[in-house]
Amino acid sequence: MTFSLASILALALLAPALADDKPDPVADQKAFQRFFIEKFPKVKYEDFVNGPYSMDEGLHRQWEEKEQFPPYEFAVETGKEMFATPFKNGKTYADCFANKGIGIRQNYPTFDEKEGKVITLELALNRCREANGEAPYNYLKDEMASLTAYMAFTSRGQKMDIRIPNDPRALQAYENGKRYFYTRRGQLNFSCATCHVQSPGEHIRAEILAPALGIMNAMPIYRSEWSGMGTTSRRFLTCNSQTRAVPLEPQSDEYRDLEYYLSYVSNGLPISGPGARP
């Protein structure tokens, strides 16, 4: 068998391109973090978890004052009480989680190798309820926001630590999440990255856009715009509808994979949730 010089050259040119297409979460995470660190050299690394408050000195001062009487405090208290209240069968949420559910927020989402899918904290909480004969909660706010607020609060300061096991399905889930993050959708033709990579620190109407780096670490959040708490699911759904895209169902595979990707690239940053946002 003989190869022409042209075909050898073509293969040589194609090889790096093929290599580029192979998912490499470690390289992605490094590039992702470097991008924001270089874009915002004055922002302290740990401060990225404070979203828009990290982008502007005036807003940062507002945030410091807000933190003295944080609007999410009620949710943390409610969540704590709910967490300790036994189900009808006598078991509690603590029975469903490692370390009895305390200080584990940084490990979610996790990849379940039995199921072959991403499991978010919100999903794990509702599965825990259903396994114990309780009805699942609405994924967007209220009880779910309170429970996740409490669990995040017990994990504050822990560094995000999302693992991608050596399982092609996990790598695919990560890659799907990345694709979702960068894909433009809705009539406004916006991707998540349009706001949170290309434009953090810029105004969109009255709001200052948050950087994507560390954005998951503050979840769930109290938003003044919502006059209440909202979960990660709520944040994804409202982002979609703001671009005039019909949101997917909460905890759809796409949203679970998106949370997996976004959390992974923020590995190393501390959990700051629950957060407060304008």
Partner: protein, 104 residues
Amino acid sequence: MTNMTRNIVLAAVLLMPGAVPALAASEADFKAAYAAAEAAEKQADQLRNKWTTTEAQLAAAKKAASTGDFDAAIAAAREAEALANASIYQATSEKTRWKDLEIR
């Protein structure tokens, strides 16, 4: 009256404003327009990329049809179809274009 004169008179009458009312759209026309819009939106749904504006136009088309305003209903249905087709184009082109935005 010659044939030519008669034809001219007839044409003039027909061209008089109001002599021939504009053909109003029928329910059948609306149903055809709505079915085309729905089919496009179904395809957008399969691509997991429906737009809120398409849904709003589909709802507006149904509402107008329910009041018998088939002209408005057809206009809304056609708008919905155009929006759905745009969302299909977006989803299809983004299958590869998303990589242009990726941080590397």
